[in-house]
Structures are given as structure tokens and as C-alpha cells.
């Protein structure tokens, strides 16, 4: 089953992270790549995002992300894994788990592109 791991960051906690963090991320990405995972795509900060809704003829364009939560969606990675147990194990390896939340979302087989 293909799993998407959504990384939500707590900016406050992240700011206090030790300098070794980038090394931990690099190591995690290597392990991820070796496991045939899709290495993380990082997103620009949530505050720079925009949200679009349309109701009838009105288009609403708002600054910022859809959800105003303490932890913001910052990026994701993907892996093919046998079950949720393996997914939890990989989520706990991601350094972001200590500075936010790693959300595990199973995805439907890719039918696009």
C-alpha cells in the first residue's frame, strides 16, 4: 500500500532544534531513498500560501493556508509499505516527529500522470 506522510511543523519547537537536525534529515532521506521511498518535497512556509474557494459566482482568494493550526503542513514523503505498523515505524524515524506531527495517509493507487 502506498502511504503519504504529511509533515506538520511547530515553528516554535523547530526554532529550538539543535544544529544536528539538518544532519538527521539528510540521514533520514538517505534511508528513505534506499527503501525506494519518494524523498520529501518541502513546501514554502504556510503563511506564503493562498486558499481559493468558489461559491456560485464569487471567487474568494485568501492569504495563508486553509487550516489555521498550531502546526503547519510543511512537506511530505511517500513509501510503499505492507501495513500501518511499518508506516508508524517510518514516521517515527522522521526527525520532524519531534518538532511537530507526522500524519500518515494511505493513498489510492496513482492513476494520474
Amino acid at each position: 500500500m502506498r502511504y503519504m506522510f504529511l509533515i506538520h511543523h511547530d515553528d516554535e519547537a523547530l526554532a529550538k532544534a539543535p544544529p544536528s537536525l539538518w544532519g538527521e534529515y539528510a540521514a533520514f532521506n538517505e534511508a528513505l531513498t534506499k527503501a525506494n521511498g519518494t524523498p520529501g518535497l518541502r513546501l514554502d512556509h504556510a503563511s506564503k500560501g493562498k486558499s481559493v474557494t468558489q461559491r456560485g459566482d464569487t471567487v474568494e482568494l485568501l492569504d495563508g493556508p486553509y487550516a489555521d493550526t498550531k502546526e503547519q503542513f510543511a512537506g511530505y514523503f511517500m513509501l510503499d509499505l505492507p501495513d500501518i505498523d511499518a508506516a508508524v515505524e517510518w514516521a517515527s524515524r522522521c526527525p520532524s516527529a519531534s518538532y511537530g506531527t507526522v500524519e500518515i495517509r494511505p493513498i489510492w493507487p496513482m492513476d494520474l500522470q
Partner: protein, 411 residues
């Protein structure tokens, strides 16, 4: 009532619960039904026993309360259905048991053998035993086994249904099947212990270790002639004795050979040694006795200061023949490095270098990293340690490995 007495009362409630679940389930093979029958009585006991004290006859108390509920439920049902017949059966069981509350047979061993039956999914054996024998909630078990709580709940329901629907036998296996079947029970208990091993300074994890130790002692008491049960308990005790020494005051990881001996629990080590001696006298050896003997050797080396690595390698040789496990081969390599050097140790791993199970196995990469570093192969060490760091879930171990990798650059 003070905290210690509270815990004792809670412990006794759980023991009584486990005995009764085993008794009720043994005849019907319906574990979930037995738990349902006792659920309210158990919740009631957990609330009132710590407060009011443990009743003189704990089993009788639980049975009386449970029977009252069953009778009420039956009276309320209007139509005759499978549900009612089931309630009837449960009620009869409890009636019989209640008539001899002092002589309730201990069917817990049979229940454990059912939970660990070959037809039962391996990963669910420990959770089943923890819930049915100890009354642990799905949430607490999920928390220790790192599974989402709802998922664990669903799996437990399915596992219990399997016991019922596949007519999994509730019985102590015959002599010739016993070693293999017992190994499955011991493996489940040890798996539970291991869950409480990795988290430091976390009281719920320590509790899991306590529960596993309690289960280990229960099995030893119920099967006093089985050396492997003693071996497994000794193994857990050797590990438990070192709990306080595994992290320094700053929370950093401390490997065994650098641990402060003063922090080791001497009483637990003495108990482990005694169990191991008893086990060794009883008959043919098994994997838990050998693993315990290896732990005993490690402790002896630190305490006496005498090098005994050749003996450790020899023990791993025996263990490898018994299990043919890549994990054993890996641990043997670490010991072999001490007797024949890191190059020989790395060579010994060639046979499983392409084993898919090792590709994402953190200890594999950590071991290769350390061995390559000692052999002077910095490139291989750097690569291996990087993968080990990426596969680690514990921050303290990550920092330790990052530090090791950093040191490659010096010298």
C-alpha cells in the same frame, strides 16, 4: 490507601480477572464473551478494591458481581436467540465456579497457549495475552506497540474471533510439542518486555516491562520443570537490572561496556543467575537459556574485568545453530570482532549481506558502521552510520551515532 497498596489491590484485581477469563473462555473458547461477562465486575473491582481493600475471596467477589449482571441480562431478553443461549452457558459456568470459589482451576496457561497457537497471527500473540491475562486495555497495548488505538482494538476483536471460530484448543500441549509451543508463548512475553525496553523515563513503558516480568514469573510458576521459561525470565531480569544505567543524567545513550556498574540492580542479577543455574540443570538447552548465558557473560566480564569474549563467541555459535537467525549472526559478529578483529567480523556477515530483512534493519547498519570504523574503512563506516541514523527512532541513539560518525573524521 497509599500508592503501593493501591497498586497491590489493582494487581490482585487483574490476577483474579485473568484467572476468571481463562476459566470461562476455556470451555466456550469465546474469549470476548468471557471478557464481556466480567467487564463490569472488573471495572468495579478496579475502582473499589484500591479504595476499600481487597476482599477475602477475590475470585468469589468478581464471580458474584458478574453473575448478578448475567442473570439481569437474561431476564431482560425476551426472545430465545443465540445470544441468550450464550448468556446461559456463561451463567452456568459462573454458577459452577462460584460454588467452589476457593478451588477455581487455573486455566491461564491453557489460555496463553491458545493465544500463542501456531494458527494465531504472530504479531497479535503478545497483545492478546496482555489483554486476556492482565486485563490491559487496547489503548494501553496500542501505546506500547506503537499501533493506532482503533487499529489495535479491531485486531484484538478479530484475533479473539479467530480463537473461537478456528476452534483453537485451550490445552497444555503434549510433551513432544511443548518446547516449540512454549517458545511461542515465551516469544510473545519477551516481545512485550522489549516494548518497555526502548523507552526510557516513560512510566507506561516501564509498566509494560513490569507486566512482562510478571507474566514470565507466572509461566515459571505454572511450568516449574521447563528450563526455557526460567531462561527467558533470567534474560529479562539481566536486561531489567541494567535499566538505570542505559542513559546518563543528560539522557545520552550509554552502551553496556561503558555503563556505571553501581547503577546495576544487584538483586535482579543474583535472581537471574539463580534462575539460569536451575535452568541449566534441568535438561537440553534452548535459545533463551543461551541468550541469558550470553548476558551473564557480559556482566561477568564487566564485574571481574576478565576478557571472556571467546566464551561469548562460542555461545553465539550454539545459538546460531539453534536459530539460524540473521540477528544472531549480527550479534555474533560484534563478539567476533573482539576475538578475531573487525575484518573477520565483517567477513562473517557476507552470507547475509543481501538479505532483504537487513536492508532496513537499524542494528545491521549500526553494527556495520562500528565494524568498518574499527577496520579503518572510513567511507564504508560513514555510509553505514548514515543509514543507521536515518533508520533510528530514538533521538538519544541518533545523537550517539551522529557523534560516532563525526569522530570518523578525527584520526
Amino acid at each position: 490507601m497509599d500508592a503501593a497498596a493501591n497498586r497491590t489491590a489493582e494487581r490482585l484485581a487483574r490476577e483474579s480477572y485473568g484467572r476468571l477469563v481463562a476459566l470461562l473462555a476455556a470451555r466456550t473458547r469465546d474469549v470476548a464473551g468471557a471478557e464481556d461477562a466480567l467487564a463490569e465486575a472488573f471495572a468495579s473491582a478496579l475502582k473499589s478494591w484500591p479504595r476499600d481493600g481487597v476482599p477475602a475471596n477475590p475470585d468469589g467477589w468478581l464471580l458474584t458481581v458478574a453473575r448478578r449482571r448475567q442473570t439481569d441480562l437474561m431476564r431482560r431478553r425476551q426472545t430465545r436467540s443465540q445470544g441468550e443461549m450464550h448468556l446461559q452457558l456463561m451463567s452456568e459456568e459462573m454458577e459452577e465456579a462460584a460454588s467452589h470459589p476457593d478451588a477455581i482451576p487455573d486455566r491461564r496457561l491453557a489460555l496463553m497457549f491458545a493465544c500463542a497457537h501456531p494458527d494465531m497471527e504472530r504479531a497479535m500473540r503478545a497483545p492478546l495475552i496482555l489483554q486476556t491475562i492482565l486485563g490491559m486495555t487496547a489503548t494501553d497495548i496500542a501505546s506500547a506497540f506503537l499501533i493506532p488505538p482503533a487499529t489495535m482494538g479491531q485486531r484484538l476483536v478479530r484475533a479473539k474471533a479467530r480463537i473461537r471460530d478456528a476452534a483453537i484448543p485451550f490445552a497444555i500441549p503434549e510433551r513432544e510439542d511443548l518446547p516449540e509451543r512454549l517458545d511461542a508463548v515465551l516469544e510473545a512475553i519477551y516481545a512485550a518486555y522489549a516494548k518497555g525496553w526502548t523507552e526510557i523515563g516513560d512510566t507506561s513503558a516501564e509498566r509494560m516491562a513490569d507486566e512482562a516480568l510478571w507474566l514470565g514469573r507466572l509461566v515459571v510458576s505454572l511450568l516449574p520443570d521447563e528450563p526455557e521459561a526460567k531462561g527467558m525470565l533470567a534474560l529479562m531480569l539481566y536486561a531489567e537490572a541494567r535499566r538505570a544505567a542505559r542513559r546518563d543524567s543528560g539522557g545520552a545513550y550509554v552502551p553496556l561496556d561503558q555503563q556505571d556498574l553501581a547503577l546495576w540492580d544487584e538483586a535482579q542479577i543474583i535472581l537471574a543467575e539463580s534462575l539460569l543455574r536451575d535452568a541449566n540443570q534441568a535438561g537440553p538447552t534452548g535459545r533463551y537459556q543461551i541468550e541469558a548465558a550470553i548476558q551473564s557473560a557480559h556482566i561477568d566480564r564487566r564485574v571481574s574485568g576478565r576478557d571472556n569474549w571467546p566464551a561469548v563467541v562460542a555461545l553465539y555459535d550454539v545459538l546460531l545453530k539453534l536459530t539460524n537467525s540473521p540477528v544472531v549472526l549480527l550479534n555474533r559478529a560484534m563478539a567476533l570482532a573482539e576475538t578475531e578483529g573487525p575484518e573477520a567480523a565483517l567477513e562473517s556477515l557476507d552470507t547475509i549481506a543481501d538479505d532483504k530483512r537487513m536492508a532496513q534493519y537499524q542494528p545491521w547498519w549500526a553494527a556495520r558502521g562500528h565494524l568498518a570504523a574499527r577496520a579503518g574503512d572510513k567511507a564504508q563506516a560513514h555510509q553505514a552510520l548514515t543509514l543507521a541514523i536515518g533508520l533510528t527512532s530514538e533521538e538519544a541513539v541518533r545523537q550517539y551515532l551522529l557523534d560516532q560518525r563525526h569522530r570518523l573524521q578525527d584520526g
